[in-house]
């Protein structure tokens, strides 16, 4: 029998059904990085009846808004979110693709105004799903196909 070696959390967010190997990018998208204070546990490459292998991320002590969570769908379109309070799941939902995202992707076009360090501008993208997730820079029109490569 496979026992999941990841403990239950008291209050926080569980992000399940992340494609295997993408857990670290998911943490980046929700703003958990080195120096962050939240308690984070993570399981990578665990078996899943639905996905073969998957990653799971649990974040304790940080409130993550739904809009922020939906950004995860850029790299994990099947991800499910469980909001935990006092060890109980109080809410469960699937992430949905946001129409646009701001400040989490960098435009691949080096000559795009959003890459000018002098300007007070945040890269902003319109997100489409046509057979795969594609983000289109709202400034220069450049399309991003490999989302992970351009996460800020």
């Amino acid at each position: 029998m496979n026992l999941l070696t990841i403990s239950k959390i008291r209050d926080g967010t569980v992000i399940d059904h992340i494609p295997s190997g993408k857990a670290l990018e998911v943490l980046r998208i929700i703003g958990v990085r080195s120096g962050s204070r939240e308690r984070v546990s993570m399981a990578m490459n665990v078996e899943s009846s639905k996905m073969g292998r998957k990653d799971i991320v649990k974040v304790e002590g940080k409130y993550i808004g739904e809009e922020e969570l939906n950004r995860i769908s850029l790299i994990a379109p099947e991800a499910t979110i469980n909001i935990i309070e006092n060890y109980e799941i109080v809410r469960k939902f699937k992430v949905s693709l946001p129409e646009r995202v701001e400040g989490i992707l960098k435009c691949p076009n080096r000559n795009c105004i959003s890459n000018d360090p002098r300007e007070p501008v945040l890269a902003r993208f319109r997100v489409e799903n046509s057979g795969g997730v594609v983000a289109r820079c709202e400034y220069c029109g450049k399309k991003v196909y490999e989302i992970e490569r351009y996460l800020v």
């Binding site: 000559n111 795009c112 002098r118 709202e138 220069c140 029109g141």
Partner: protein, 297 residues
């Protein structure tokens, strides 16, 4: 009643918007020629901010504004401006908008005009953003086609640098709205990017001779020397995309060019009725009048 406040990208315009601007340009044709006086923009001030060189675009905006009774202020030389001191575009725009009623911006970075339109509380017209968009050029190209040939069910050949020419890319997007059949004539190294070929447009790849026989409009672009590894290679390619009077024979196709030309159209074409490229430059005035009236009134 204005349909839009800024003009940033041809992608923002519907077929209806484009037809609206083109028919408005018709109302200004005689004013653009100096045959009728009109002062509808009296008291309005346009700021021309050009970070890159321009002759036709800058001067035709100036002509359009002044012939409609308005006035123009210019950024002047970059070296003498605050940009030489490292001021950001955002700060500069926030200052310039205090002095004028509308901004025409050419900048070397893609997306600069969109960014400007988000910052400024006065209308912004994109006069070219790096390799990105140059919508007023596209509109004057469409106007030329409308006046000198026809826009609906058009057969048009695009000749020369189809890979890097922003003029060509914007024109294709607009022509797609008018069900055009587009003949592509270019050297292998300067073919239309794959991404554009995926558009829902009827494309035909062919040589220059076939194109001239088939189409009503031949749109020629400059093949830039710097795109080739050596001069020999450039000469070989450039020569085979050069239009001469002899090649045109008794063809009725009109010849367009965004200018400046180097040698892709021989001088002996200039006197033929096919040559419309200098009139095309003139049409920039009524079209820009229509755009200015649209955003300023």
């Amino acid at each position: 009643m204005s349909k839009f406040r800024n003009l940033i990208s041809i992608d923002d315009l519907s077929r209806g918007d484009i037809e609206h601007i083109l028919s408005r340009a018709d109302e200004f044709l005689d004013v653009a020629r100096g045959e009728r006086k009109l002062r509808i923009l009296e008291g309005k001030l346009l700021a021309n901010i050009f970070f890159e060189p321009s002759t036709r675009t800058r001067m035709s905006f100036e002509s359009a504004m002044k012939r409609l009774g308005g006035d123009v202020i210019n950024l002047g030389s970059l070296e003498a401006s605050s940009f030489a001191k490292g001021e950001s575009l955002a700060d500069a725009l926030r200052v310039v908008e205090q002095y004028a009623d509308c901004i025409v911006l050419r900048h070397y970075r893609e997306g600069a005009a969109r960014f400007a339109s988000e910052i400024c509380s006065i209308p912004v017209i994109n006069a070219g953003d790096g390799a990105g968009q140059h919508p007023t050029q596209t509109l004057l190209d469409l106007y030329t086609i409308k006046k000198e040939a026809r826009l609906d069910n058009l057969k048009i050949a695009l000749v020369g640098d189809l890979k890097y020419s922003r003029t060509v890319h914007s024109l294709i997007k607009a022509l797609a709205l008018f069900n055009a059949r587009i003949y592509l004539v270019s050297p292998d190294s300067l073919k239309l990017p794959e991404e554009m070929l995926e558009m829902d447009v009827n494309f035909v790849e062919c040589d220059l001779k076939t194109a001239i026989e088939e189409v009503g409009v031949v749109y020629v672009t400059r093949i830039q020397k710097e795109r080739f590894p050596d001069e020999e290679e450039y000469r070989k390619v450039a020569g085979s995309y050069r239009i001469t009077a002899e090649m045109l024979g008794d063809s009725d196709a009109i010849i367009m060019h965004p200018l400046p030309r180097v040698d892709e159209i021989a001088y002996d074409v200039d006197g033929l009725r096919n040559a419309v490229y200098f009139r095309q430059a003139f049409y920039g005035v009524p079209v820009r009048m229509a755009i200015l009236a649209e955003v300023l009134l």
